[in-house]
């Protein structure tokens, strides 16, 4: 049976070899599992044993300066169903019938989702209110899953849409203040780590550690909802009336730089947001800070302020306007080609004389004019604290392509690009006594533990208080006796300047309309507001005096009442209607 010894030894050797081989293979496999793939399996075991859940932090509210909420967050549920997860068709029908009243949708629709072929979960309804979602979760229906989510709501509707911006599905700010102050608003998510059993339930007396979430801070804006509503309505009305392509209105507090209202069009509707439509991308930007335009004659405020400050002229300095002037190889003409004759600097502003502005710029010299343009904040962002702000375009003598004719055209706001925010900030400096303020829209950030107040910041003094007073008096005359007459509010003294600007295009200016603007402030005795109105391509009339100045008047009139500012003269005020 055993066979010859040599044959036996061969068999034994083979057996030993197989055993050794198996043992080595086993050792190697064990080494692979225990050493080489140790980390992977340890991770798998940990994932099975430990549960780590993220606890959402509550996103802070955005409030207006008077304490009214503009954006707030509530918790909702997204209800999913897993097809074919119900044990029987009868069970699926019962589930659908139970869910239908809670989701306020037909049972057939839910049953359809439950019976669909496939494995992927189907979203039956998003944004189910907290109470209903909680009830559904507690019912523990087979194949039904409730996922907690956040919903951003806007109690004031579509107020300040481009300024506020919006959040994505993950509650992360995507545009506007929601994005720029996302860190403050979002807070920090908490975590819950615990040991779980095979069914996913926490093990009693097992390890459990919770790091509570830190709720986001509430932001208080400088915007006042009444003023914001007012400017949005006026802009909407003006765009419809003049069939304009768009526009911007900003209201600023000149002494602090606080933005009281800021509206621009075209824009989007916060309450009907559809992020899937890429065509809407154009509408999401805040045009008041991103879009540049040539300000036109409003810019004469800067030129004349600089000349007054440098004592090159005074309000009574005279010059001769012949309707046009040929200088540096180009002809400068008045806006209506009319010759104003001998006029003072005040008349220059009242008549919005381009020839006069060019004469003043030439008198001032290129170094000084561009120095003041820079001092007034043009050519650089205002640092308002919002992303996407443009700095405008100022071509100076040191830049390539600058010609002496630029000096003359820049003096009346041509060949220079500014943002509406830069323009109103510069005019506010003239209004407040000569200080360039940094504009700001966020007044406070209030978190459960701390309160951060954003104080007004003085950037620099650009003109003296005396020059400011002189300019204010000249601009008052523009409104009361000059081209800004349609902006006059009886009983009050307001200051301002119109500006009708051509729209540049490659190689010149477009013939498809103008930009009608007006920038002013009031009351001149103690300026409480500065308003910039900019209407793009009005179809009925191109002139700022006919388009923008009446809008300024309407807003100023309502602001004066809202701010409880008494008229300068009660006798005149009684005649108002």
């Amino acid at each position: 049976m055993l066979g010859p010894p040599e044959k036996r030894s061969w068999r034994l050797a083979a057996l030993a070899l197989v055993l050794c081989g198996s043992t080595i293979a086993l050792i190697l496999r064990l080494a692979q599992l225990q050493i080489a793939q140790y980390e992977e399996y340890r991770q798998q075991a940990q994932d099975e044993h430990w549960s780590r859940q993220s606890i959402l932090a509550h996103r802070g509210r955005i409030k207006d300066a008077t304490g009214y909420t503009l954006a707030s967050t509530i918790t909702v549920y997204d209800v999913f169903v897993h097809p074919n997860a119900s044990p029987s068709p009868k069970s699926a029908t019962n589930t659908a019938r139970t869910l239908a009243p809670l989701l306020d949708m037909p049972a057939e629709e839910i049953l359809g989702a439950l019976s669909k072929p496939g494995e992927e979960a189907i979203l039956v309804k998003a944004g189910v209110c907290y109470d209903s979602g909680k009830k559904i979760a507690e019912l523990r229906l087979p194949g039904v899953q409730c996922v907690e989510a956040s919903k951003r709501l806007y109690p004031e509707g579509n107020l300040g849409a481009p300024l506020l911006g919006f959040v994505g599905k993950d509650n992360w700010g995507l545009t506007g203040i929601e994005a720029d102050f996302n860190q403050e608003l979002a807070g920090v998510a908490g975590t819950l780590v615990f040991e779980q059993d095979s069914t996913g339930m926490p093990i009693p007396l097992g390890f459990r550690q919770m790091t509570p979430p830190k709720d986001g801070a509430d932001l208080v804006l400088t915007i006042q909802r009444y003023i914001q509503t007012l400017v949005e309505r006026e802009l909407d009305k003006a765009i419809k009336k003049h069939k304009a392509s768009g526009g911007t209105i900003i209201v600023m507090e000149p002494k602090t730089g606080a933005i009281l209202g800021m509206a621009s069009q075209p824009t989007f509707d916060l309450t009907k947001l559809d992020l899937r439509d890429s065509a809407d991308m154009e509408l999401y930007r805040n045009r008041a800070i991103t879009d540049m335009y040539e300000p036109g004659s409003i810019f004469k405020i800067v030129t004349i302020s600089a000349a007054l400050e440098e004592k090159k002229v005074n309000p009574k300095t005279t010059y001769q306007c012949g309707g046009r002037v040929y200088k540096y190889g180009a002809t400068i003409s008045t806006w209506n080609y009319a010759a104003h004759g001998q006029e003072t600097i005040t008349d220059l502003l009242k008549n919005s004389c381009n020839v006069g502005a060019a004469w003043v710029a030439d008198l001032l010299g290129k170094e000084k004019l561009y120095e003041y343009i820079k001092r007034f904040g043009f050519g650089q962002p205002t640092s308002i604290g919002l992303e996407g702000e443009s700095g405008g375009k100022v071509r100076t003598p040191t830049d390539e392509g600058w010609t002496p004719i630029d000096l003359l055209t820049n003096a009346f706001g041509q060949g220079i690009s500014v943002t509406p925010m830069q323009m109103i900030t510069a005019v506010s400096a003239v209004a407040n006594g000569g200080l360039l303020m940094r504009p700001y829209v966020v007044k406070e950030a209030i978190s459960p533990k701390e309160r951060h107040v954003f104080e007004p910041v003085v950037v620099r003094r650009v003109i003296s208080a005396e020059t400011s007073r002189t300019m204010t008096d000249m601009l008052r005359q523009v409104v009361e006796e000059g081209g800004g007459k349609p902006a006059e509010v009886p009983g009050y003294h307001l200051a301002g300047k119109t500006g009708t600007a051509d729209i540049p295009q490659a190689g010149g200016y477009t013939s498809k309309g103008t930009i009608a603007g007006f920038c002013g402030y009031g009351p001149v005795e103690d300026p409480r507001f500065a308003i910039l109105v900019k209407i793009d391509q009005p179809k009925d009339t191109p002139w700022a005096g006919e388009v923008a100045a009446p809008i300024f008047k309407s807003i100023a009139q309502q602001l004066l009442t809202y701010m409880k500012i008494p008229p300068a003269s009660a006798a005149v005020a009684q005649q108002r209607n």
């Binding site: 009214y68 967050t73 509530i74 004031e156 009693p204 007396l205 009444y226 009660a570 108002r576």
Partner: protein, 151 residues
């Protein structure tokens, strides 16, 4: 069984030191049992307290969420478009088209001050009021205060 018990007892009587051991064993068992029971009770209490805390945390979270919901509802009720709609549709209000400012002379400082009413009693009346033992005590302390003040 009875025989065995007798035998053990007999053996215990015969072997000194064994009786102490036999007494120690049940005592130890009893103590260990008691300690285990205490531990069990304590553990179950801790577990139950843990569940209670978890449940209370859930309830707190639920109220917190309901609070956010209510805050939003309040905000929506205070919203300007809603107030305007109420004013126009329910209260039939219209926007003001004419403003009339009236010049009102500022009242003088003296006239604007509220009239000072004299006290309805005089101090002497208080003094003449009949006083019991507490009145005497009060007067004693008042007197004491006056003395302290004068010194």
């Amino acid at each position: 069984m009875g025989l065995n018990r007798f035998a053990v007892g007999d053996r215990a009587r015969r072997l000194p030191g064994r009786s102490g051991l036999t007494a120690l064993l049940p005592t130890t068992v009893a103590l260990v049992s008691l300690a285990s029971l205490l531990l069990l009770v304590q553990t179950s209490r801790v577990t139950s307290a843990g569940y209670d805390i978890e449940r209370l945390q859930e309830i707190r979270e639920e109220w917190k969420q309901k609070n956010y919901q209510l805050e939003y509802e309040i905000d929506a009720l205070k919203a300007l478009p809603r107030i305007e709609q109420e004013a126009v549709t329910r209260l039939n209000m219209t926007s003001a088209t004419q403003y009339v400012y009236l010049k009102v002379d500022m009242p003088s400082q003296a006239k604007s001050m509220p009239e000072i009413h004299p006290p309805t009693y005089v101090e002497s009346e208080l003094e003449n009021k009949p006083a019991g033992w507490w009145g005497k005590l009060l007067r004693f302390f008042t007197l004491w205060k006056d003395i302290a003040k004068s010194t």
